[in-house]
């Protein structure tokens, strides 16, 4: 195994172009586990830790341009206002040590359906900034996941950053694990209200071969909110609406039975999380001009 250590982003892109099989390595929380357990034995490891700009973010515009290697800890500490859903998801990642090293770029690169950041990215709305020596392209996050642990990157591309819509309304994230911390998701659900566009977006983790949006649930809810003029009145959501939303979210799952949980349980749990998180974000929208989503 050869270890490539580019000193700059340009060098990294050149190395990836020259060795398309090279596996990028940032925090190492996923790649190193796979190597240690001999699950993969890449020809080249492409170490990105010397590339400073991957650890920075820019929150000046309507998006946060989040460097691919910004660790979860910094998202929690510095971006909870702009990216509340992602910050909530980041809090559920692994242990403090893992959160100090793991990053959204790594989560996207691994493209595991159980990655904690995916539902939050799907709900907020995001594009993956993929770059190669050929140039840069923006991949909408919902098109990024192409299969179990597969993504839309070309062999010569690296993830430079993720551009995530700044929150303009409440966001929530909820994850089921069979332990109260430091656990891989059995399933997860993210939701974001976008009052500006009067839309609702969602993300489901670990309940289908890829992270997915519950589009039928989103469309149903958007219509229900419009019909009731609820974006304007900030009136209460009826239990029937929440129930239908939950049902549709559950229906968006295509889960499997595995050692972490049964398919039936995942469907049920996604429905429960959808109903509850909708209650929380709608409550927040009604209560305080739509900002903030922290559960204390």
């Amino acid at each position: 195994m050869d270890f490539l250590r580019p000193a700059s982003w340009a060098e990294a892109l050149a190395a990836k172009a020259e060795h398309p099989s090279a596996v990028p390595l940032a925090g190492g929380t996923d790649v190193m586990v796979e190597i240690n357990f001999d699950h993969r034995r890449p020809e080249y490891l492409l170490d990105l830790q010397r590339i400073g700009e991957l650890h920075t973010w820019d929150a000046d515009g309507p998006d946060v341009r989040l460097g691919a290697a910004v660790p979860y800890t910094r998202i929690i500490d510095h971006l909870a206002d702009e990216l509340p859903g992602l910050a909530l998801a980041a809090r559920t990642v692994g242990s403090p040590q893992i959160r100090n090293r793991g990053s959204v770029g790594g989560n996207l690169g691994a493209a595991s359906p159980a990655g904690d950041s995916h539902p939050a990215l799907l709900a907020a709305g995001a594009e993956v900034e993929a770059e190669s020596v050929r140039g840069t392209r923006l991949i909408p996050v919902e098109e990024f996941y192409t299969g179990v642990k597969r993504n839309a990157l070309a062999p010569d591309e690296l993830i430079r950053a993720v551009r995530i819509r700044k929150a303009t309304g409440p966001q929530q994230f909820s994850k089921v694990g069979t332990r109260n911390a430091m656990v891989i998701a059995v399933c997860a659900f993210g939701i974001a209200l976008h009052p500006g566009s009067r839309t609702v977006r969602t993300g489901i983790g670990s309940a289908a071969p890829t992270p997915v949006r519950a589009r039928a649930a989103e469309e149903f809810l958007a219509a229900a909110l419009d019909d009731g003029r609820l974006w304007d009145t900030r009136g209460p959501l009826g239990p029937a609406v929440a129930g239908e939303f939950a049902e549709l979210a559950s229906g968006a799952c295509n889960p499997i039975d595995d050692v972490r949980g049964s398919a039936a349980y995942r469907r049920r749990a996604v429905g429960v999380m959808a109903r509850r998180t909708l209650g929380w974000v709608w409550g927040a929208y009604r209560g305080n001009e739509g900002r903030g989503a922290a559960c204390a």
Binding site: N36, F37, D38, L88, R91, T92, Q172, F173, S174, K175, V176, G177, T178, R179, N180, A181, M182, V183, I184, V186, V259, R260, G261, S262, A264, Y265, R267, R268, A269, V272, M273, R276, G279, W280, C295, A296
Partner: protein, 794 residues
């Protein structure tokens, strides 16, 4: 060679005169462990050492047609490859029955069974070379439970058995079977006003100790080998290793290395013989350290169990009879299954008076992973079932669960189903009373005064699954009984060697035993005992090794009792020698030397009236007094093979728990809010350590209740979750408040009146948590660990 034996031993513990028994002396290894400086066996290092690696079977049951090691041997950096054909002497070993192949002998009987060994100059080289070994397997049908193990035509996993149990078992795939019969169950059943039955199941728990199996074998000039090793019982290892190496026991010298937890999982050999074999073959030091994945295959687990119980009681709440059948899955090799069966059978009625019992307990041979010792040892499985039954009976009779238990609680003088009289305090009702009397945590404890929600106090924790929605509280109680020490007539003794000498004018005691310090705090307690008995401040604990006689196993809650007893006994002999020396040297100066009761206190010889006769250092002068003593607890008897009658146990220990849980009834997630324990420890030699043991045992029981299980595929018998990613143990966010109430009711038969502590809290914690979840959900919940699916019907 540096640091090869660095352990908590070898350190002088200087604690002034306050560090005797009853003091919460701090442990010498505590700070080192917390700061990451403690040297574990996995840190062992030797110049020129090679690394050993074990090739393991990917199948649960297969015939080995051939093994081709040529490609592995041809790998650069590889110094040796060994298979069964290369073994120099005995090819099988075992704790009780020598049925376990050192390396697979033509057949593998469980997933992960060792097939070949590689020694190379780098661990990665060894691992890759092992991958080049070509093993031609012919897969065989697997037996995985009682039905498949005892079906007509079932593969017999160990044909031609000659072990002591072979003659009385109903099927060759049954390791051991122990009935316990007392009274007349049929007559009692006819008289019962209420009868409840239940079927229960306990999943396969792992010890999940944090320091993986590791050791370093160094070949010696004399043809022998020195083994530095993390284990639970040096001399039991030695007894098994020496025949495998074809060496006399005095050529195999063992020294305890830093042990990162054990809980029963280090009672059996793991890499001990393998490292020695490779070292003797290569004439180089060989280190083997398992990674976490391999560790799950490297040690035995807790027996999964299926239990069927029937209880009958009178209308006024008195137990009349109990009948039960306990089927333990021992996996591919016997390990300590026979003793686990004995425990499960003899303790199957729990800490209750019940005059009519009909019990059958047995352990199976299957192609599942081998199971053996784990904290609680057969008593855990039974306790989960009988405590569920107690709650069912209480409900059927309209009694509070604690009240029903109180009416049937055993006490000193009660008779066990085995006929053994409980002849020391058994405060079962009092322990329950104490946990019941504690105030309950406030309702909606996750809400602060200002109404903010702390998700960490809710089911799901930081995963943010509920802010109170769907959450229902439950409270549950349980109590259990555990034997202390080795039972059924086993000659259970410990050896201690004590030296007392004056160093720079100050008396210093050295305690040398072969006790395995696995985290239980034995080295702390031994120093405390020496201080109390010899009146010295400075005590050195010598490294544990096989240059001194056996200290028995660090298991069965026995080390403070038995090795502590040996230290006390040897110290008493040293004291006599000191006083003889004093009389010879100073006897003429003061009549009290001849007439008074003399004590050693604060480094001086004093009369019982407190008059100082001499300084210990002056009495000793240049002399060094050294005494070695063996010490035994009172003997036990085997259980009768047909009736289970016999005074089989040394001592009983009791703990009770009250669990308070919040259950997310929609998601099936559980947050244990508080898990209170009351336990009688006879005498707390170190109250801080005792509290730690009780809290640790309680938490291990919580783990079994709500998350810990090795999942074995029922079709292939392969382990599905050999990692800490999917074998979950409680984190600090899963750890509830753990109030501990320690009773000290002396057992007159035991040193200082003490009662073994380590295991009892692991028993009742599991059923208490499950009882609380039952109360919250109304579900029957007959299996642990609970899974969200069980609580949501999915």
């Amino acid at each position: 060679m540096s640091d090869v034996t660095r352990t908590p031993t070898g350190l002088t513990q200087h604690s002034g005169t306050q560090g005797g028994i009853g003091a919460s002396t701090l442990r010498p290894d505590g700070t080192l462990k917390v700061t990451g400086e403690f040297a574990y066996a996995s840190d062992l290092w030797h110049e020129d050492m090679l690394w050993g690696f074990t090739l393991r079977s990917p199948h649960a049951h297969a015939r080995i047609r051939s093994v081709d090691v040529s490609a592995a041997l041809a790998t650069g950096g590889v110094h040796a490859v060994m298979t069964h054909d290369d073994l120099p002497a005995a090819t099988r070993y075992g704790l009780e029955i020598q049925d376990t192949p050192v390396l697979a002998d033509g057949v593998v009987r469980h997933h992960g069974e060792p097939v070949a060994l590689v020694a190379a100059d780098h661990p990665e080289t060894a691992r890759r070379a092992a991958a080049k070994i070509v093993v031609d397997y012919e897969q065989l049908p697997v037996v995985t439970d009682e039905r498949t193990a005892t079906a007509d035509g079932a593969p017999v996993l160990h044909p031609d058995r000659t072990d002591p149990h072979a003659a009385h078992v109903p099927h060759p795939n049954v390791v051991h079977r122990q009935p316990v019969v007392r009274g007349d169950v049929a007559a009692a059943r006819a008289r019962a006003d209420v009868i409840v039955t239940g079927e229960y199941e306990v999943g396969m728990q792992d010890q999940a100790f944090l320091g993986p199996e590791s050791g370093l074998a160094v070949p010696a000039e004399d043809g022998g080998v020195d083994l530095y090793i993390a284990t639970q019982w040096l001399h039991a290892d030695l007894r098994q290793i020496a025949p495998v190496l074809g060496l006399p026991e005095d050529k195999v010298r063992m020294t305890l290395s830093g042990v990162g937890g054990a809980f029963g999982g280090r009672e059996d050999l793991s890499m001990q013989a393998h490292a020695c074999l490779l070292a003797l073959r290569t004439r180089r030091p060989v280190k083997i350290v398992y990674n976490r994945f391999e560790s799950f295959f490297g040690h035995v687990h807790r027996h999964p169990a299926k239990l069927r119980y029937e209880h009958g009681a009178t209308r006024d709440g008195k137990l009349l009879f109990m009948a039960c059948r306990i089927v333990l899955d021992g996996g591919a090799y016997a390990s300590s299954s026979p003793a686990v069966v004995g425990n499960a059978a003899s303790l199957s009625a729990g800490p209750y008076v019940v005059d009519n019992v009909d019990v059958e307990a047995l352990a199976l041979y299957t192609n599942n992973p081998p199971c053996g010792a784990m904290r609680g040892f057969g008593a855990v499985q039974a306790c989960f079932a009988y405590e569920a039954q107690m709650d069912k009976l209480a409900a059927a009779l309209g009694l509070h669960p604690v009240e029903f238990r109180r009416r049937n609680a055993m006490a000193q003088g009660s008779v066990m189903p085995t006929g053994q009289v409980v002849d020391s305090p058994a405060p079962v009702a009092e322990l329950l009373r104490r946990v019941q009397a504690l105030p309950l945590p406030p309702q909606r404890q996750w809400e602060s005064a200002g109404g903010a929600t702390d998700v960490r106090a809710l089911p799901g924790g930081l995963s943010n699954t509920t802010h109170g929605e769907g959450v229902v509280r439950g409270v549950g109680y349980a109590v259990g009984i555990k034997n202390v020490g080795f039972s059924e007539g086993f000659d259970d003794y410990s050896t201690a060697r004590i030296r007392l000498e004056a160093v720079a004018g100050e008396p210093v005691a050295t305690v040398h035993t072969a006790m395995a310090e696995v985290g239980q705090g034995g080295v702390t307690v031994h120093a405390q005992i020496a201080r109390t008995e010899l009146g010295v401040a400075r005590v050195t604990i010598a490294p544990a090794d096989t240059r001194v006689g056996s200290a028995g196993s660090t298991s069965a809650s026995r080390q403070t009792y038995v090795t502590g007893g040996a230290v006390k006994h040897a110290c008493e002999a040293v004291r006599e020698r000191v006083l003889e020396l004093g009389r010879a040297r100073f006897g003429t100066y003061h009549p009290a030397w001849a007439s008074a009761e003399l004590l050693l206190e604060d480094g001086k010889v004093v009369t019982d009236g407190g008059e100082v006769l001499a300084a210990l250092a002056d009495v000793l002068g240049e002399e060094s007094i050294e005494v070695e003593r063996e010490w035994r607890h009172r003997p036990t008897e085997p259980f009768d093979l047909r009736t289970g009658q016999g005074s089989g146990h040394v001592q009983y220990s009791f703990a009770a728990h009250r669990a308070v849980v919040e259950v997310d009834t929609e998601l099936g997630l559980v947050k244990v809010v508080e898990l209170a324990c009351a336990q009688d420890v006879g005498k707390a030699l170190n109250p801080l350590s005792v509290t730690g043991q009780i809290q640790g045992g309680t938490l291990q029981g919580l783990g079994l209740a709500v998350m810990e299980e090795i999942v074995v595929d029922p079709v292939t018998a392969r382990v599905r979750n050999p990692s800490f990613t999917d074998y979950l143990i409680p984190t600090i966010l899963d750890t509830p408040t753990l109030p501990v109430d320690v009773l000290e009711l002396a057992d007159g038969h035991a040193p200082y009146g003490l009662r073994g502590v380590g295991e009892a809290p692991t028993l009742s914690s599991t059923p208490a948590v499950v009882a609380a979840v039952r109360q919250a959900t109304g579900l029957a919940l007959q299996r642990v660990p609970l899974r969200p699916e069980h609580l949501t019907g999915t």
